[in-house]
Symmetry: C2
Subunit: 427 residues, 2 copies
């Protein structure tokens, strides 16, 4: 096991504990488990504290193991090194609680720690993005490192989502500011209304869009409830609700609507049109999934860009239109994460966290369909978490990029030689 100098320099006991917790798998919970516990009148802060005291160090230790395996040239940047120490600090704080009991005072202390930890990790995404940029400025592009980073950042950010979910669940249910909405269990809405969140996200994206372009497209929403078991296209009176975390869904929909609006308005400028075609949203409630499809006529993108759109190391600019200066860029003081090009991959993680997904289908020259998949039943909405093990460790070995097992560009593009003989290769 690789320990950072900091953890290595600790008393033997702490590094033994790190080894112990890193050897456990995280325990994924479902939304059902989470909200059942939050609703149970007999459940108390002691139970929840006991669980978090053992589960959180497992999650921190698992992701720290991978953080320690990242290339030195990234870890040594001021920003990435700060992220490492924040995670180490939270882990060390947590194991201090091992010694303590579960008295009222202990539980209060734990609440204080959770609150501190929650704030401490508030800007981890931006810090990692800064670290990546610092590394690129100093060392240039490295495709091997880029691939490791893509793998790692998906895992770090997903683990972070999960840790913050557990923390805020405990803080909201047992913390001093008791949740006032009886509909909510912690941050879980028992009747999360998809259209309401769509409206909120649309209003906020519209504000941003109007601010930059002095105009914005409309949004039309249609609903389909499979319970009706008939061919229907539009149902304006229906309601689609599920048990979900509204802030996650808002994050996803705001990102997609923002992208769709920008695409439509920029295409509108290109074709000198003032009237924008509306963004069409279809919400379908089926037996297993709630699917939200957002269709825009903003010109789409070529198929070859699809994977790029979810890459953290794509783009200075990272916008769907490939512009280096995004109208929603950090320099303008808005939506800094979008400016780093992290908006889409993060939104996909929010969807995947509870066993959903997010996909994009571009029709280049026309528009884009975005699909958000959620699990309709809370019992199926399990946490989806990274685990540190041999398989993940191998992804950080610097073996270079493996030889491609597919070939797809005629050698004649590079050299006319060998074109009819095939090219011999090392084997």
């Amino acid at each position: 096991m690789w320990l950072s100098p900091r953890l290595f320099a600790l008393p033997v006991k702490a590094s033994e504990k790190f080894a112990k917790y890193a050897s456990f798998n995280p325990t994924p919970l479902s939304l059902k488990t989470l909200s059942a516990f939050g609703k149970d009148p007999t459940a108390d802060i002691v139970q929840s504290t006991r669980f978090l005291k053992s589960e959180l160090p497992v999650r921190f230790a698992n992701i720290l193991q991978e953080l320690h395996l990242l290339p030195k040239k990234l870890l040594e940047t001021p920003s990435a090194s700060l992220v490492t120490s924040l995670y180490e600090e939270s882990f060390l704080d947590l194991i201090d609680f091992e010694e303590k009991g579960l008295t009222a005072k202990d539980c209060d202390d734990f609440l204080v720690f959770l609150d501190k930890s929650f704030s401490r990790h508030g800007t981890v995404v931006e810090m990692m993005a800064a670290g990546v940029m610092e590394m690129r400025e100093r060392h240039g592009e490295d495709p091997v490192v880029n691939n490791q980073l893509q793998y790692f950042l998906d895992r770090l950010f997903l683990m972070r989502i999960s840790i913050r979910m557990l923390e805020s669940q405990h803080l909201l249910v047992f913390g001093p500011e008791l949740n006032k909405h009886h509909r909510f269990v912690g941050c879980i809405d028992q009747h999360c209304n998809v259209v309401h969140i769509l409206r909120d996200a649309y209003d906020d994206a519209k504000l941003l869009c109007d601010h930059y372009y002095a105009d914005s497209p409309e949004m039309n929403v249609s609903l389909v409830n499979d319970d009706d078991e008939k061919f229907i296209l539009v149902d304006v009176n229906g309601v689609i609700e599920l048990v979900y975390v509204p802030s996650h869904l808002y994050h996803i929909l705001f990102e997609l609507l923002k992208n769709a609006m920008r695409a439509v308005v920029e295409k509108g400028r290109l074709v000198n049109k003032d009237e924008f075609p509306p963004i069409q949203v279809l919400v379908v409630s089926g037996k297993h999934n709630v699917t939200i499809k957002l269709s825009d006529l903003g010109g789409g993108f070529p198929r070859s860009l699809n994977d790029q759109l979810f890459r953290y190391t794509y783009s200075t600019g990272g916008s769907r239109t490939g512009k280096t200066e995004s109208p929603f860029s950090p320099s303008a003081g808005y939506a800094p994460i979008a400016g780093y090009g992290y908006g889409l991959p993060l939104s996909r993680l929010y969807a995947r966290y509870l066993h959903g997904d997010l996909t994009l289908s571009g029709m280049e020259g026309h528009g884009t369909d975005a699909y958000v998949y959620l699990m309709r039943r809370e019992a199926d909405a399990d946490e989806f978490l990274p685990v540190f093990n041999r398989t993940s460790a191998r992804r950080y070995e610097s073996v270079g990029i493996p030889i491609d097992d597919w070939i797809h560009r005629s050698p004649s593009h590079d050299s006319q030689q060998q074109a009819s003989e095939g090219s011999p290769r090392a084997s």
Copy 2:
């Protein structure tokens, strides 16, 4: 290098040649190269024969290497063993031509061989499907083998598409039955009209659908030409053409329309409706891609099924609706490949062969959008081919299924133990 007993028993010379050709990479061609050669009045059968005499053995040897690495329990089935010997036979025939020159007689002999080889491999897909079923009947399910098979069959079938493309290109351009349509270069249509192929595929799928259900949904087609650079939704008079292989496009569209029709009619039965919502097709011509989107209201499928739909080892029945007895099943004497559940993965391979793609987005409880991506420019439509090397060889090592680096089901689903402590794991 692993040689099958047959190749091993050959004179040293043949196995040396196998080693030589297997060490070369195939040479991907673009549609542009293929049709430029076919159109060139100075290009003659000698040049084409010379190229194929060196390129075909490379493609056969590359895929044979992987075939030889498949698990014994599959290779020993009568069907898979027949496939192996067909490929070995064609390889041995080919290296016989090394000795020969390029006289008119030699070129004629080569034509005869190509014709024979083309027929010989005509039912390889069905034979491999039978081999897989024979193996499963005898040895049951094996997830490790299933994963290897998914990897291998994608490669075998794609290599087969490429070999047949080169063979029929030569046969059509230089063979006895000269191509009558000046629009065509071999099997490449210089003005492949997407809507015409859609109509052909629709008519044939409708015939099949009417035969089983005595009814079928309509199809509406809309076109978008990006050259117009405006927001348009429907263009009934436009034409979208590209350089493409019409038989490949037909194969893809027939499969998708057949699936869409079946889904719509079966959903119609469920809801006791006689009027079916039409299948909506949108064809978009952009700068890089021609995108064909087929939307049906046949009830869709859950997100979790998406990958399964492209698996060769999914389903006895393999239909999108998950029925074991498909109305288009082989027992009924129609579309045997669809009955094996190979229709969708094969269609995706046809699209990928020339650098396109095929994706499905199901909205469970509502319908399905299928997207077919083609390269608009013939110079970008490169062949996409498997290569045998260390990376691919590793995929056939029986190391079992690697430990998953993600965890996604609460242990409490299986056992209540350890739920709050995490579960220790081997490392």
